[in-house]
């Protein structure tokens, strides 16, 4: 059976003949359903082949690759490391600043460049603003998966304010190409600090409004508590990261445990799921970790805004970026988890090998483990709680 094509409509289920793409034989009581590449709730082009027994899922096999855009091959053909940054933007298009940051950090470590402190502060501010924007998308769409259409619009209304901030800084709303190797592309415009402070003051009560509307709603809790439970040791074995790992009770955040930029100068807390309304590691825990991370991000931004030093944002950019031959693996904490770049250089101006370790790719691989035994309605909530962006899964 051709394993990449969906089943035709006139197939007849016979016990010894129907085989899933993983080689499992399906009994006649079970049905293979495709939550196909186009589907309102799979957050992108993801195909889930589900084997169901009534409404209970027996197996869920994700098929990816519909958005593969050959990032790694492109990176090898660039003549300059700076030229890879727009491509890195487009991997996880909901959180571009974090992608830029990771790649720029990797190249700077390889070349042992020290960036000015002002650059570090601005990078932290941008990364945290981007974290809030990305979590707003994740939480809003999670509400839609649950059937609540209103929180989505509230989240996007608040996200507009963040995108306005980004627009006055670098001119773009979604894909910025802002954090370059050795510095930034533009300095902060006049009025940015005031507008950002205004945003922080505006946003704090909005988180409470969102919680009242969705997070602590009885129906939402019934949909997400005890659903898709991911035990902590399974999460570590499957190298989950970000809110997936912290939602399972593992106290691990790269901003604190493998520090980069100036995160150690700020006072903030790592949010961990405690199983408040269900088991530790269920969908509600991951959801509340994201909500609370937004609060912590606002805290970090306020502290950073208060303490930005003066300086030049482009002084460390070298004319020719030519790292010595060698390799490096750098990881940063993006809203989805641990984004890692493994760069091998052969001494010339273009990279020899760039491997992007996308957190959504790795987090998605745990889906068959946590979806087994759930119902189809639960599967929507589970996939939503993994918070995948297919651009990062497929690169």
């Amino acid at each position: 059976m051709d394993q990449s094509r969906p089943l035709p409509t006139n197939y007849v289920t016979q016990p010894d003949r129907v085989i899933t793409s993983r080689g499992k034989t399906v009994r006649t009581e079970e049905m293979i359903i495709n939550m196909g590449p186009q589907h309102p709730s799979t957050h992108g082009v993801l195909r889930l082949e589900i084997v169901v027994d009534g409404e209970i899922i027996v197996d869920a096999i994700p098929h990816i690759g519909y958005l593969h855009r050959c990032f790694e091959k492109h990176a090898e053909h660039m003549t300059n490391y700076q030229q890879v940054i727009p491509y890195a933007d487009r991997m996880d298009y909901v959180a571009s600043m974090n992608n830029d940051h990771a790649f720029a950090l990797a190249v700077e470590r390889m070349m042992k460049i020290e960036v000015p402190e002002r650059v570090e502060y601005i990078r932290v501010i941008m990364a945290e603003l981007q974290r809030i924007a990305s979590h707003l998308v994740a939480l809003g769409t999670y509400g839609i998966d649950a059937g609540a259409f209103t929180p989505f619009l509230y989240c996007f209304r608040d996200r507009e304010k963040i995108l306005d901030l980004f627009e006055i800084t670098c001119g773009a709303r979604l894909l910025y190409n802002y954090i370059w190797v050795g510095g930034l592309s533009h300095d902060l415009p006049a009025g940015f600090v005031e507008q950002a402070k205004e945003f922080c003051a505006y946003f704090k009560p909005k988180i409470k409004e969102f919680n009242d509307l969705l997070t602590y709603n009885e129906i939402f809790i019934k949909r997400t508590a005890n659903v898709g439970v991911l035990p902590g040791d399974v999460a570590i074995n499957y190298a989950c990261s970000g809110p997936m790992l912290r939602g399972s009770g593992v106290n691990w955040d790269l901003r604190r445990d493998d520090p980069y930029a100036v995160y150690d100068k700020f006072d903030w807390e790592v949010q961990v799921g405690k199983g408040e309304v269900g088991t530790v590691g269920d969908c509600w825990d991951r959801h509340i970790v994201r909500v609370r991370e937004m609060e912590q991000s606002v805290k970090i931004i306020e502290q950073a805004l208060a303490g930005i030093p003066e300086g030049n944002v482009q002084s460390a950019v070298p004319k020719r970026i030519r790292p010595e031959a060698g390799e490096i693996y750098i990881r940063t904490e993006t809203p989805r988890g641990e984004l890692g770049f493994f760069i091998m250089s052969d001494g010339s101006g273009s990279p020899y090998r760039v491997k992007a370790r996308g957190p959504a790719f790795v987090n998605l691989s745990v889906l068959p483990e946590i979806a087994r035994g759930a119902m189809i309605a639960d599967l929507t909530m589970i996939v939503g709680s993994v918070d995948i962006v297919l651009g990062e899964v497929d690169r």
Binding site: R22, Y329, R353, F361
Partner: protein
């Protein structure tokens, strides 16, 4: 633990399976034999003083001498140390033992390495292409890759 101590533990346990190492760079690496990868990884994960329970990244590479290789980046959440492992194989005989029984995440990473480089992982439960369509020809990230002319009737080169 320092990289030197990790290397000493590994050599004392596996002896000749540890081929080479370079510890004076920013990210020290240890090269291991390709048919003993699973045993070594299991030891690294379970030994109480090492406990490398987190496989950060598993990448396929093509080295400048034309051989294929796999680079494992391991870290430990408990002890907070990191190490890099490498294995090498040739293009004519691209077999490396799979680590998917040790870390669940290696499953998809190895499928991607197979998809992009053609490295065959022995013992992998479900080795098939992951990012490209199942009937694609060739292994794109190899340096000598020539894109196919037609795919199912669609002209591929731009």
């Amino acid at each position: 633990m320092t990289p030197q101590e990790i290397l000493d533990k590994l050599t004392s346990q596996f002896g000749d399976a540890i081929l080479e190492s370079k510890l004076d760079v920013a990210q020290p690496w240890i090269k291991i034999a390709r048919d003993r990868a699973e045993g070594i990884c299991l030891y690294l994960r379970d030994e109480p003083s090492l406990q490398f329970d987190y496989l950060m990244c598993l990448s396929g590479v093509e080295l400048s001498d034309g051989n294929l290789g796999v680079v494992y980046h391991l870290s430990s959440i408990i002890h907070k140390h990191k190490i890099v492992l490498k294995t090498v194989c040739s293009k004519e005989d691209p077999h490396i033992q799979s680590a998917s029984a040790v870390w669940g995440t290696a499953n998809w990473h190895e499928r991607e390495a197979f998809d992009m480089f053609g490295i065959i992982f022995d013992g992998h439960p479900d080795l098939r292409r992951i990012l490209l369509p199942d009937d694609w020809e060739g292994y794109p990230l190899r340096k000598d890759y020539k894109v196919q002319e037609f795919y199912n009737g669609i002209k591929v080169p731009y």
